[in-house]
Subunit: 373 residues, 2 copies
């Protein structure tokens, strides 16, 4: 089915969940073609796990929708809704799976309760960097496994953003040995929380908007969120002055668009191409934007807010690494699909790590050696 | 102008250089809309600096064209031509600038003879990585400067691919001190060639297809090309067994689509969005593909072909770095626009390097420490 095909309004309504059709005869933007020849505007609802317009996250969802609208001349008109506008942040999966909404923009590891395999399509401790997860999903067999996983929930999902490297977090007190994690109450979600628990700490799950208050009240001793750009917006430096980096837990967190399978199947081939390509372009922009904006924000944090950067010692890294490898492997023992996802991910990490170890990693080290710290 | 607007064949021919129109009434792919309501197929010619279908380079051009064709339902039908099919590799700039062809896919540093500013939109020694140049061009002011530069040549250009980190090259003899560059005849193009000359070597310009023969005949002692994936295809390991990495000269070489300005201006707003978004998606795929395929190829080179990896010593790196910084700065002295491009690029490098130095670079080092070499 392509642009030349006349779709009746009735056919569109029948095909897609949660779609509303409205006729737009084009009088605002230029001369109208004969009414039967243009497909009517199809409105789709995208629900997200982000506060509306939140920099880098909410804006990545909006950018994806903008690309789709512009490229389809408004034939696909996607309205983006922040967390809580239609459903709560963590209800978007069920909403799209069940057809209450058409698509979501989220981080797939939020659905680890449905399957631990979902962690691997966002980020896992000691896992892939941003460009590596792009390589695995697009060229290393990841997308096929993701299709299989999402298909179990009446969904199809694509990469549509990446935060890049996430920092180790904000701490009220310095972490000088692995024993300093004992009793530490830290906001850290998902499988990385299991690592903190293994180290003797308490992993607390809080949505972004709840973190600052918890730090201020003393309910938590530390938090991770994303990186300098997003972290600065919340002002964590006022309550927890020690900023640890790099982080171990989300070395390149992928964001995703998930689409109701019936809605996806109802799209014409050109509209499918538009959605798929918009997701890839949004992913590209997200990687670019986080790389640049984190640099700008880090400088502001250091020079204007006096933030002190810290790094975990090699001893701490070795223990975190050992525990992380065990926790991630354990997560894949329970079902056959997760096991296959884990095996594919770990094999891709092995292959791309060997390349990174002789290319970008030592280049960055040499560039710093030459240009100064 | 949007999809609803009826464009006559005559109007399209008048608007674009080198465009051919043909009527396609859609009988092959589905029911036809009334003939007046659909825009006719607009055929555009993309000329490239790559051998047709060359992995990662020629295929990046074809992927961009495919995305555009699919998303526009074939309304924009871009035919991709390998180097030499319509014009030679290094004639594509003039061909598109002058309207002989509509667009090119190339590496912008090939046009350094027109302006040294062009180097910065591909890669310069000790410069930005793949994700960093994406950050600078998309969010750090790079695109605006690029628009100004390309505008001088009746062009507009966008990022549409990136090779990622490029290796230091293949050498017949080991390089143990900086003096080993004296008298070395190395195939290395552009501004990086100036660095080799400063070190006492001879930089030779050869197209990809000429390199192997020159190595075999002894006309050159060393060559760089791209990375494991592309280098393996040419079989350089048979003639020059020492493979040096990382490289200093192209830490993340951007590929670009350049478009004749009149052709660009003639596109409707939805077709402009389709072309722009296709370039961004192609860039995303290219970064993903090189990251994965270089890993696969490196393993094959090591295990099947017995390739020996080498790294330049810190002493060599310091001297290469010092000379590179000088050569790149010198390249920007001649004209005011290049100076502004240089200043913007170097400032972006400063900002993003500070971020990379506390995030991905040390993460990669720790991950290797934990998982083993």
């Amino acid at each position: 089915m392509d642009r030349r095909t006349f779709l009746s309004g009735a056919a569109i309504v029948a095909a897609g969940a949660a779609s509303a059709c409205s006729q737009d005869n084009g009088t605002q933007n230029g001369p109208a073609a004969p009414a039967v020849a243009r497909r009517r505007t199809r409105r789709l609802r995208m629900v997200t796990t982000w506060p509306a317009g939140f920099p880098g996250l909410g804006t990545a969802a909006e950018r994806t929708a903008d690309y789709i609208r512009e490229m389809s001349s408004g034939e696909l008109d996607i309205r983006v809704h922040g967390a809580g506008e239609i459903v709560g942040a963590f209800e978007v999966f069920d909403a799209v799976s069940g057809g209450v909404a058409d698509m979501y923009h989220a981080a797939e590891y939020y659905w680890q309760g449905r399957s631990p395999a979902y962690n691997f399509f966002c980020s896992v401790p000691m896992g892939l960097t941003a460009t590596e997860i792009m390589g695995w999903v697009e060229y290393g067999g990841g997308q096929q496994l993701w299709d299989e996983l999402a298909g179990q929930f009446n969904l199809i999902a694509f990469q549509a953003g990446n935060t890049g490297h996430q920092m180790g977090g904000w701490f009220k007190r310095e972490i000088n040995s692995i024993s300093d994690f004992r009793g530490l109450r830290m906001r850290i979600p998902g499988i990385a929380g299991n690592v903190i628990r293994e180290l003797g700490g308490a992993a607390v799950a809080l949505s972004g908007g709840e973190i600052y208050q918890a730090l201020q009240s003393g309910a938590i001793d530390a938090t991770e969120w994303v990186g300098p750009w997003n972290d600065m917006a919340f002002g964590f430096y006022r309550e927890a002055p020690f900023y640890y980096g790099p982080g171990f837990h989300e070395p390149g967190a992928a964001l995703a668009v998930g689409i109701n399978r019936g809605v996806w199947d109802s799209l014409s081939s050109d509209h499918k191409a538009i959605v798929r390509t918009a997701c890839r372009a949004a992913n590209n922009q997200s990687v670019a934007e986080f790389t640049y904006q984190n640099g700008i924000a880090l400088e502001t944090l250091r020079t204007r807010h006096g933030v002190q950067l810290r790094d975990f010692s090699d001893e701490i890294w070795r223990e975190i690494g050992r525990v992380s490898e065990q926790v991630v492997a354990d997560s894949a023992r329970n079902d056959e699909l997760t096991r296959r996802v884990y095996d594919s991910y770990i094999e891709a990490r092995r292959v791309m790590r060997a390349w990174g170890s002789v290319s970008e990693a030592p280049y960055l080290q040499r560039r710093d050696m030459i240009l100064g710290g």
